[in-house]
Symmetry: C2
Subunit: 298 residues, 2 copies
């Protein structure tokens, strides 16, 4: 099969390009731009980009936020009139040693406080992979469950929901031992839905033959809906394989229908890790995101 | 996390290296070497390698077999006293156009005849990914089911079982739209177990949180058990990430326990796609395969 290509103008599929929706277009009312999609911009520039392009919500990452200052970042986003759809990311809860585990709990408590200060109720949790040399996948999953049980009341007390992100199984060993929506929902189940939810990221879950039923069962647990496309072949760095919606093999409208059907009405966050997208002019990227969001997702 | 390394002598884990088991060691009685593991050897050299090292079974690939001649290959393997654990591979059944679909059916009928002539009852089926530009994953899965329904009686009539291989979800778009053991078993279910079975390949299924139950439910459908390890990070070519058992993150004894518990008593096939292994001296590889098989799998 020929490889899919990244093109900021025309989707790889046969669909015609559409006009770039103007700021205020009601179809954009739930659109959020995850700041990783414009990775080369600093926080003020990313916020300004969203404001200028009429993208009403932004997904933030801890590193640039803490570098800028959490209070200052909160003010910056608020003054620009943007919502914060989520903070990425807590997690990495699989350390085998007690010290590492305690350090992870504390780091996540800080992340919860940051999310609260930023005015978002959604902390995306990438739960962590297997420790070096470990073959104990059930054990790692148990430690994540233990950590969530400890963190959930703290999060709820600060009005923040831990959003467990099932990661694509190719990241199971090194990034996230939660691999399916069903598994994330089961891990969230012992806790109130207001304290622990799940992320539905098209890139991570599109392949799952049980995804429709799993999203239906997730219902009010759905805390975040993220979109980007799956392109072939995988690039040398598998982390950077995420494509602009329309350039790959994911049926976004089908997945959005499932998430809608489950009752989710929150922001829809575009999060793309892709060297070509990162190299592009951020204004061009923002315009493409709006077009593709409307033509492929909305 | 530091990357896992390929070392033909010492497992990356803390386990001690063991002596290389001699030919005739009863622990090797179910060991099969998939010829892809020694990719640079031609068919006679691969057969000779197995015979010299006391590896009693071999997994063959269609391309080298047809190049050598099917009848001659059958005689070669038989004269060496080896079993043929499987023939790789049929499949690629997802073409959208009628012509492409018919061509795939015919190619698979030829593969079934080759398997029968080689004296193996197991044809491994890599079912195929999404056609270029397609986003219709359910449609592709339906076409595979249709093709299996057409091929199953033909296979059974020649004493061959179609062994559906669930592929790691990272290959869903470009190689195999069957992603889980449960899904493969469900697709096999309408057909006699003697006509359609499933492959349990540790590399493809290790991450699945439901794998224990799925393998239990597979029971007599299990037609092949293949082993290799999952190493991090993924290499630039994701196809070549498969490691020697013991170098990565898979708990082979746990998976073997599940497969044993399901009643599988057939060959256990070592199939490793890895540039470092391919570059090594094949005699060293064969010795390592025997040691690791005994220390990690048996």
């Amino acid at each position: 099969m020929a490889g899919d290509r990244t093109d900021l103008d025309v989707p790889s599929g046969a669909r015609a390009a559409i006009e770039t929706p103007a700021a205020g277009d009601p179809r954009l009312s739930r659109l959020s731009l995850n700041q990783k999609t414009v990775d080369r911009l600093d926080l003020p520039a990313a916020v300004d980009l969203c404001a200028r392009h009429g993208i009403p919500s932004i997904g933030l990452w801890r590193e640039p936020v803490t570098e800028y200052g959490v209070a200052a970042a909160a003010k910056l986003v608020r003054d620009a009139g943007l919502r914060v759809s989520s903070l990425c990311r807590g997690g990495f809860l699989t350390a085998e040693d007690r010290e590492g585990f305690r350090a992870a709990i504390q780091a996540n408590q800080r992340a919860i406080l940051e999310a609260a200060e930023l005015g978002t109720d959604t902390l995306v949790m990438v739960v962590g992979g297997l420790p070096a040399g470990s073959r104990d996948l059930p054990g790692a999953r148990e430690r994540v469950a233990d950590a969530i049980a400890e963190l959930a009341p703290f999060a709820a007390g600060h009005g923040v929901r831990l959003a467990l992100e099932p990661m694509h199984p190719m990241f199971c060993a090194d990034r996230g031992v939660l691999s399916t929506v069903d598994e994330a929902v089961a891990m969230a189940a012992p806790h109130p839905a207001s304290a622990v939810g799940v992320v539905i990221d098209t890139y991570h879950v599109w392949w799952d033959p049980t995804v429709a039923a799993a999203i239906g069962a997730a219902g009010a647990r759905i805390a975040s809906f993220q979109v980007c496309d799956w392109m072939v072949p995988l690039p040398a760095d598998a982390l950077l394989g995420r494509g602009m919606m329309g350039d790959g093999h994911i049926d976004f409208r089908a997945l959005r229908g499932m998430v809608d059907g489950a009752g989710y009405t929150g922001d829809i966050e575009v999060e793309i890790f892709n060297a070509d997208v990162w190299a592009a002019d951020p204004d061009a990227t923002a315009a493409t995101v709006k077009r593709r969001y409307v033509s492929e997702v909305w």
